[in-house]
Amino acid sequence: MGRELALELALFAGALVSALFGYGGQLFPPPPFEPGAREDGTLRVVTWNVGGARGGELHGLRDADAPHVASVLRALAPDVAVLQEVGSRAAADELARALGSGWEARRGAGGLTVLAREAELDRARRVRGVGRALVVELRWRGLEVALAGVHADAFDPEERNEEVGRTAERLFDERADLHLLLGDLNLDVDLDKKRDLFSSQVHLDVETYNFVADRLRDAASGRGATAEPDRRLDYVFVSRSARVEAAGPWKGQRVGTMDHDPVVADVLP
């Protein structure tokens, strides 16, 4: 009887020790991403879908939310920001003005807006066959940077595949020291989500993601959801030669009916 009780207690004790080792880290999960101070020479880029949804209807940036967006961008002080769903050209210009001096804006279709600070921003070029995409060249501290912003279709994975693929190919055509692809790609390919047995579109989006990820680094990989409800739709892709110092969605910055977080990346070219 004594040996049997000892075996039982040993099994329970082994289970407890293993659980403490295995789950110990989960008791103190890593803190969410917070943009901090960055080293000199680090390029800070941001992508943010500033639109929202109310009662099932999608809408662009609301006038009431524009000052908040400007204040978040001022706090982040990025060198480049790619915004989606900025309502109008006037709203884009107003946003650039609200950010202060030294900012320039380039605007594409569907509210896609590229804002750059203290960088020589060339003319924005559209991507053939893609409504909401822009490719811009800019010079930042002597570096040639090719940047693509895209807002892909929210509902059709094949449409997304064409839009993201064409934009990426157009970007790869540009000769530059650093390539960046930012935007709301509407791809939810977070590793954890692929467990979902009820998802029928994941494999199509995975192929689109792979097409970009094969050439560029997904800066905020593994940093969690960027949009409601618990989806990772917004991406910053950077050249593989660049080093990502810090990246992730900055939580707690939405107001009103906004449904995306700004995604920030500090990149050492």
């Binding site: 049997e4 099994l11 082994g14 289970a15 979902d196 494999h203 792979n210």
Partner: protein, 278 residues
């Protein structure tokens, strides 16, 4: 003596031969599925251009990995649960357990022997599955490096490249780790087995509960339940198939599975040592 006797009984039950047959049948189905997928989904679909799902990276190693992954979650736990469920309940229902305990053998030794034998059997089954999958893959699909992309296998969140020799070394490491992973469903089936006196009921219940827990762990809606289910960590060995293995994560997930295994065994043994044998 007890171990040899139990081993002989397992061999005569023909379950190992049945399991190997099922594994071979499963691999044949995988091979068929592999070829049809490569032909129908990637045979030059012009409209879906931006893709890496083409035949260039399909080879024997990717076949073996896909086959082993699906076999590991769908086939091997069923055989582990069948073996574990049948061990104690089968002997109880058939009256063999009372006969065994009439000899000078403790319940602790009998329990440990049965679990050790079942664990050895599942480890051998894992090894046989891996060896067969690699042999079929390398002979019928072809040699090459192991390229992995983010996809339905959840192996990686970024493109990975392993040379052929690195890939084979990772498969060798996957054998012991996957065998440890299967101890949890095996121990769970032991737990079910001590609560019933019918082998059929024990096996059926263990398999059904395993499938329920596996499905729940896979549905995103239930993601908050995942830490509570051993099925969430079964395929922790996938971490091996990365260019840079995250050993701390691998160790932590392995420890979680071990914790479930030991807890199930402790509860099963508690019930087993306290109950009266007819």
């Amino acid at each position: 003596m007890t171990l040899r006797l139990e081993g002989l009984r397992l061999w005569r039950s023909r379950q190992p031969a049945l399991a190997l047959g099922a594994v071979a049948f499963f691999l044949a189905l995988m091979l068929l599925g592999f070829y049809t997928y490569a032909q129908s989904r990637t045979g030059g679909s012009a409209e879906f251009r931006y893709t890496y799902e083409n035949r260039s990276y399909f080879n024997g190693l990717t076949f073996a990995l896909y086959a082993f992954y699906f076999g590991f979650v769908l086939v091997l736990p069923i055989f582990a649960a069948t073996e574990g469920g049948a061990q104690l309940a089968g002997d109880t229902g058939g009256g063999t357990l009372a006969l065994l305990l009439s000899r000078p053998v403790s319940k602790a030794r009998l329990f440990a022997t049965k679990f050790a034998l079942a664990a050895g059997y599942t480890a051998a089954l894992v090894g046989a599955f891996l060896a067969l999958a690699l042999t079929v893959g390398l002979l019928l699909v072809g040699w090459g490096d192991l390229d992995l992309y983010p996809g339905v296998l959840q192996m990686t969140d970024r493109p990975q490249h392993l040379t052929q020799s690195e890939g084979l070394a990772r498969f060798a490491l996957a054998w012991p780790l996957a065998s440890v992973g299967l101890l949890a469903p095996l121990a769970f089936s032991f737990l079910v087995s001590v609560w019933t006196r019918s082998a059929v009921n024990a096996v059926g219940t263990a398999v059904a509960l395993y499938l329920v827990m596996y499905v729940v762990a896979e549905v995103h809606f239930f993601q908050d339940l995942r830490p509570l289910l051993f099925t969430s960590y079964l395929t922790f060995w996938r971490e091996l198939f990365r260019e840079e293995v995250d050993w701390p994560t691998l160790a932590r997930d392995g420890a979680k599975l071990l914790a479930f295994t030991l807890l199930f065994l402790a509860l099963a043994f508690r019930r087993f040592r306290r109950r009266e044998e007819a």
